[in-house]
Amino acid sequence: MNVLGAGLVNSESGDCLAGRVIPGQLRRADRFCKMAICAARGALDAAQVKGEEQGIGVIMATAFGPHPTTFKFLDNILDYKENEVSPTLFSHSVHNAALSYIAAEFQINGPTLTVTGFDGVFCTAFQLANAWLDRQTCKYVLLGAAEERGPVFDKVFDIVEGSAFFLLGQGPRPVYLENKAKGPVQAGQEKRGSMVAALNLYRAYDKGLSR
């Protein structure tokens, strides 16, 4: 397995979405979805692979999902009558909304899988991506992570916000994926979200490219 391309949006130096061009058809997408779409586009562009190419599967890991949208929907329930709540907010409050946008935006008809957990979820997603490639379930796997910060969870967690996606494909396994002891996709600090492990992989990939 090899990493053919990677895309990253993160908030280390200001708003990660500032200056990014968001197509009009994504106007209803929330921040969580927009971050994931931008990172996925970065990975596909870097690998020079088009989404509609046959055989792309997508796996996205997230610990907390689009919780700010969930809380906005709860605001609706508390502030309005139950039959006046917003269907748009509800449909964006589910964890897999981001992959729905990614599949539609890049015309991907392969499997789209959103996985969630607080203990090594990105690492297990990485392991599954490897299995999909080994069994030729897919020719490529677009593997990603996404997390968003928001006022409620900021009181409890120290979430690393952003999204990273990697286009994985067959090929010689690069050195940075071989280092299992201190590997780039180690579990740990998962209460900060899935981006901790995804950033490790991104940095290793980035370093590997520049060596």
């Binding site: 139950e82 709540v85 589910v94 964890h95 897999n96 991907i108 899988l113 080994d134 409890v156």
Partner: protein, 388 residues
């Protein structure tokens, strides 16, 4: 590739607290959807709530209580309680409700005084179904919770199958669980897909879905592992595939593009042809769009005589649990050579041009399929077989 046996089943839903009670409800065509009892609401949509359910884990999220309850039945039926520590056991479970902190009381208190109730946070963190079960049973295989909306349970079963195929574990505890949630109840209402009458899957005059709750758990294991433990597995998981519509956030592709791809890939992965499939346990939510899309794809791929049914008329739409429950019901149909009628159906929809089972039916086929279509456009398909 190793043969993957299905050695244990556990179910809990409004139709019954275990396999036997559920089959009794199927035999008697009993169902009793009501307005919700678990939360106050001014809406009138009917739900299938699990009643008379008591769990020793009352400090846990209800989804976890339902999940552990069904998992216990599945493990017992697989005679696996004692062997777990000696095996590499993975857990892959689907959910929609348990992965979100969509707790109205928690949020109301937060809005009022800005204070975070840490007990609710702890319960949320411990409520991830796969992590919860793996920690509770002290398991050492891969652990993953799938949040793929209504196909979560089916995808979780498929991932367990893939883990076993790739030798990542010897046994996989798979399926899905979800509790009834006020938030989902309001959300589905806002989408105008809920019904205030008992749901009528595939019927011409269907008016929408009824939400439900429950858990459906399967034990998958490599056949040689099961045989080594002295089990003689009859049922096998033969194929799985999943495909995206790439179309819309909430509506299925009108031509069933993703479902067609998933069905064909699942058939290919199992080495079967459409005519080998003796019946389909359909997603069959009783919404206009879902049932029309599924019916169209069934007709095109399997022809007009295909036997199919939706069991959501007995359980309601249990979201993340649906794939687990329906996979278990598919296995029971194969095992017993018997299927209940598609309860709620009366008149064929000319837009579909197919009727589901209108009466309880004997069958002697060896292969069956279970389908799930999700919010977000994911479509997932499992194929099971039985040795006769």
């Amino acid at each position: 590739m190793p043969d993957i046996a299905i050695t244990g089943l556990g179910v809990v839903s409004c139709a019954g607290l275990d396999v036997e009670q559920t089959l009794e409800a199927f035999r008697s065509s009993a169902r009793n959807p009501q307005t919700p009892g678990g939360f106050l609401t001014a809406l009138s949509y009917l739900v299938f709530e699990v009643k008379n359910f008591s769990s020793p884990y009352s400090d846990q999220m209800r989804t976890v209580q339902l999940m552990r309850y069904a998992a216990q039945e599945a493990l017992s039926s697989a005679a696996l309680n004692e062997d777990l520590k000696a095996l590499r056991v993975g857990v892959c479970l689907g959910t929609t409700v348990a992965c979100q902190l969509n707790d109205v009381d928690f949020y109301r208190a937060y809005r009022k005084n800005g204070v975070i109730d840490q007990t609710r946070i702890e319960r949320y963190l411990k409520g991830n179904p796969a992590e919860n079960l793996a920690a509770y049973l002290k398991l050492n295989g891969p652990v993953l919770t799938v949040a793929n909306a209504c196909s979560s349970g089916t995808d979780a079963i498929g991932i367990g199958w893939e883990w076993l195929q790739n030798d990542l574990c010897d046994v996989a505890i798979v399926g899905g669980a979800d509790e009834l949630s006020h938030v989902a109840y309001c959300g589905f209402g806002s989408l105008s897909v809920s019904s205030s009458e008992p749901c009528r899957p595939f019927d011409r005059d269907r008016k929408g879905l009824n939400l439900g709750e429950g858990a459906g758990i399967l034990i998958l294991e490599k056949k040689e592992v099961a045989q080594k433990r002295g089990q003689k597995p009859l049922l096998s998981l033969l194929g799985y595939a999943s495909a995206a519509d790439a179309y819309h956030l909430t509506a299925p592709h009108p031509e069933g593009k993703g479902l067609t791809i998933a069905v064909n890939k699942a058939l290919k992965s199992s080495g079967l042809k459409p005519q080998d499939i003796s019946f389909i346990n359909a997603h069959g939510t009783a919404t206009r769009d879902n049932d029309r899309t599924e019916g169209k794809v069934f007709k095109e791929i399997f022809g007009p005589k295909i036997k199919f049914l939706s069991t959501k008329g007995f359980t309601g739409h249990t979201l993340g649990a649906a794939g687990g429950l329906e996979a278990a019901f598919t296995c029971l149909g194969l095992r017993d050579g018997w299927l209940p009628k598609n309860i709620g159906f009366e008149k064929e929809d000319p837009e579909i041009g197919l009727s589901p089972l209108t009466a309880a039916t004997q069958l002697n086929g060896c292969y069956a399929m279970s389908t799930s279509l999700a919010f977000g456009g994911n479509n997932s398909v499992l194929i099971m077989g039985i040795e006769r």
